[in-house]
């Protein structure tokens, strides 16, 4: 069962690669595969068990799979040093401001929807 789900994931990844070369050179192949699989699930109206099992097993180990590409940061020590304070400043300030903005926006929109429903 797991194998069948994995085969589907590989098939969607390969379809994504084909579409990347044919039509969407700027969108990475795996992302196109992700969107295709999402559309397929919407049309089908559910996730079958083998696909669910394969996806859950792979996603469980996602951080492990990301370790090798992340080690490449070794090659960027100089870039980090050169822009250290710009990076930290941008990351921290944008985090603080956008976090509050997003929370406020969602809360306001939900309250408004609730009020409108109350009027009807």
């Amino acid at each position: 069962m797991l194998l069948r789900g994995l085969s589907w994931l590989v098939a969607f990844q390969l379809a994504g690669t084909a579409l990347n070369v044919l039509f969407f050179p700027v969108i990475p192949g795996p992302i196109i595969g992700l969107v295709l699989l999402f559309i397929y699930l919407m049309l089908r109206g559910g996730v079958n068990e083998s696909l669910n099992e394969a996806a859950a097993s792979l996603l469980r180990y996602l951080p492990l799979l990301l370790v090798p590409p992340a080690i490449g940061v070794m090659a960027h020590m100089d870039d980090i040093k050169a822009d250290f304070w710009a990076i930290i400043g941008a990351l921290v300030i944008s985090l603080l401001v956008s976090m509050v903005f997003i929370g406020w926006l969602m809360q306001t929109l939900i309250n408004r929807q609730a009020r409108n429903k109350g009027k009807l």
Binding site: L9, V10, F12, Q13, G16, V26, I27, P28, P30, I31, G33, L34, V35, L37, F38, L41, V47, A55, L58, L59, Y61, L62, P63, L64, L65, L66, V67, P68, P69, A70, G72, V73, M74, A75, H76, D79, I80, A82, D83, W85, A86, I87, G89, A90, L91, I93, S94, L96, S98, M99, V100, F101, I102, G103, W104, L105, M106, Q107, L109, I110
Partner: protein, 238 residues
Amino acid sequence: MTVEWQAALDAVIQHPLFFVGLTLGVYQLAVAAYEKTRWIILQPLLISMVVLIAVLLALDIDYVNYKQGTQLLTLILGPATVALAVPLYLNVRRVRQVLWPTLITLFVGGLFATVLGVALAWAFGAETMILKTIAPKSVTSPIAMLVAEEMGGSASLAAVFVMITGILGAMIGVELLRVFRITNTAAQGMALGIIAHGIGTARALQESEESGAFAALAMSVMGVLTAVLMPLAVALIA
């Protein structure tokens, strides 16, 4: 008879599975450390990075060799990224009731967070490569790394920015929102998921089931929107 210690050591280090074994071992130690302490800052990916880089530097091994030696793991990353469609689908199905507030917040808030991050880095004088790498900082690592690389930034550096943003967001997010009287659980989940992706979602789950559901949804939609729209936007501008 002499024992050939050196020859045996060389054979082990040069075996095609050596780096895979090393990575698996370090990762499991990192996971054990995280599960024992539950400290947000001990993200297994981050700890594995730090330890492995130290080991590679100590053994004087080039990144190129390590990269070749771990292709077995990297190959599975593609199908694993595709697999993100499954939680995305399940999460979208879950929050139909407040679909419009959710979609508007995702789109406006996600755009705001991305533009603000890049604009600040630019104002502080960061290089173009850093700007392209900082743009997907709020997105889950596999997507951020693909997108950063696609635009001419650095995948590995993107992973670091994503980690910093996620850890910081998870550490102070809930308290920060409380100070500004944002107490709605859906709003709290959205803020954590959009900004702090997977790490924020784990934090939201500690608050409540509903908060966690919105965070998970926000994280998956934010990831896909960024992956599709950001390279297109950059292609249009350039």
